[in-house]
Symmetry: C2
Subunit: 350 residues, 2 copies
């Protein structure tokens, strides 16, 4: 493990790839090893600019990342691309697919491309992606692009591990726009309308005007300087607007760093990650108590049929749960548990 850690800190891509495979493993031994590695690497204190990116199907994400990534790489910046791909959990990885769809970028010495299978298992939904981001930061990457294809809750999870979140859209052929999933437009710092080229140029300008107007309808967030969230026109195919887009990203990143929002945002993300993992883990743990899960499912069915009032059903279930908790001999057992949790492993690293 020491060799892997040293390799990563030296920027060795083979060590990085090996470590990502380790954090993706579900074997308990591997998980423990992964945690130890991540913990050791965190001491480097290295941070990259984390760019979250999502887009409607057909918006040209691959072309955009390829061109945008090449521009950065050619400037001497080291770029990692992590693609959160739900399908790869089934196919066992789509590394070749990703390398094919971003062929030139994948061959660039400053670039690293890797799919990150998303999972529906509790706690594993995107923890592995988050771990992979941390590994890329330790390996000295300047920019980590976290791409999501926008299935399920992945956009929100990716936003929760990004410093800046980008929504990529394409104007449709006619006057109809690609509908954006509810909730997603509000996460965006930048809305990029792609394919501002050829026949679609005027559609793209129209779409950009509409998104720009729509963004003004929302209440301002504290972490947004004047003019953000912002809508911009790009053509990934023709390389138009990419430089301007980078400048806006850098300006926003600088403003957030200077104003303290960058640090606040990362702290807020970490705490909210912790809280939601604890909530999900505890609820999953309770489901394993024999009887609770089945009773809960039965009650939910009856509530859905209109046979029982939801509040009444919830109170019945919770009354049983409280009895379970209260009947436990806390004095003897829990004190031990809790003291067991407060290991020097945590306390010692203040």
């Amino acid at each position: 493990m020491k060799a892997t850690a040293e390799g990563i800190l030296a920027g060795n891509l083979r060590s990085l790839a090996k470590a990502i495979t380790l954090v993706e493993s579900r074997l308990p031994d591997h998980r423990a090893e992964a945690r130890a590695l991540l913990s050791r690497l965190r001491r480097s204190g290295r941070q990259a600019l984390r760019l979250g990116l999502t887009g409607t199907p057909g918006s040209g994400k691959s072309t955009f990342i390829e061109r945008f990534g090449l521009m950065l790489a050619d400037q001497g910046q080291r770029v990692a691309v992590l693609a959160v791909d739900p399908s790869s959990a089934l196919s066992g990885g789509s590394i070749l697919g990703d390398k094919t769809r971003m062929e030139n970028l994948s061959r660039h010495p400053n670039a690293f491309i890797r799919p990150s299978p998303s999972q529906s298992a509790v706690g594993g939904v995107s923890q592995r992606t988050r771990d992979a981001v941390g590994l890329c930061e330790a390996a000295g990457f300047d920019i980590v692009i976290i791409e999501t294809v926008g299935v399920g809750q992945t956009e929100t999870q990716v936003e929760q591990m990004s410093d800046i979140f980008i929504l990529l859209l394409a104007p449709a052929g006619g006057d109809a726009l690609q509908g954006v999933k509810r909730g997603v437009i509000e996460l965006a710092d930048l809305v990029l309308v792609n394919k501002c080229d050829g026949d679609l140029a005027s559609n793209a300008r129209q779409a950009a005007a509409e998104y720009s107007a729509a963004l003004k309808l929302f209440r301002k967030r504290e972490r947004d300087p004047e003019g953000f969230p912002k809508t911009m026109l790009v053509s990934a195919r023709d390389g138009i607007g990419l430089e301007a887009c980078l400048q806006e990203i850098q300006a926003l990143a600088m403003w957030r760093r200077d104003s303290g929002h960058w640090t606040d945002n990362r702290a807020r993300q970490a705490v909210s990650w912790f809280e939601s993992e604890v909530d999900a883990g505890m609820l999953a743990g309770l489901e394993e108590i024999s009887g609770i899960a089945k009773l809960r499912a039965d009650l939910a069915d009856r509530v859905g049929e209109g046979a029982v009032d939801p509040d009444e059903a919830a109170q019945k279930l919770l009354a049983g749960f409280r009895t379970y908790i209260e009947s436990r001999d806390r004095a003897s057992a829990l004190e031990t548990d809790v003291s067991g949790i407060q290991t020097p492993g945590i306390r010692g690293r203040k």
Copy 2:
């Protein structure tokens, strides 16, 4: 209680008011009595059209409800207005305030106005409002308007107990629009731009065009017929557009009834209410286990400071929690708990 139930079923407003006071009480005895009353009244099977209404401050909610409610009441429809008012939890109720701000409606024989204090206590956040809606339905009201001033999560909760959700907006004096809280615009079935009168008429038309364009950017929901969500112009002050607004509400309600979305929506709301109450109640119950809450808060602080990785902190806490769950002698105690939950009180009412 029998007298109260009969009074409510006969449409007696004094009985209704008394029952709402009962469901609002936090005393355990009152709560049990309230549940029994609600359970008895549910058998009536009466349903009202539940209209959720929220709006930016200064959008003219009171004037709108007064005029819209009077129009309905004059048509012979019985209208109940429940105002979810966070401030009334502090002031101990703002009944006079509500009656003053909707003076004519409050005196109409077909109308009933009542504030419903919102609460931050787990399980009580808006359960009491939900109970009050059920009481109004049993009392034979045709329409129940649930108004929220839009503090915290109240809009989402009100949407979760509404058949149709309305967002009321006012154009600002200049070209700036009132910003809408993120997430709220996506809940709306109807966006009403109010104050389309006098000096603000052209601003209102402009605002309506912008919201109408913005609504088209979102992906369509299954429960929306063609043309919905819809933006409309109204002037509550001058009574303009209220009749058209009612027609749209009725058309939407009819479409949803005929297509089955009405029933599906109520079933979905009930199940999701049950699930979130169970989750919140269980998590609150776990917080009461000595040690867990404090350790969790301590870990969250350290995660926020960047001293511990969120995932690592969560796993440590969850490991302790699992030990706690597993160390329990389930075989003896839980079976009893679970069988105790499945009372004939639930099973018997299929």
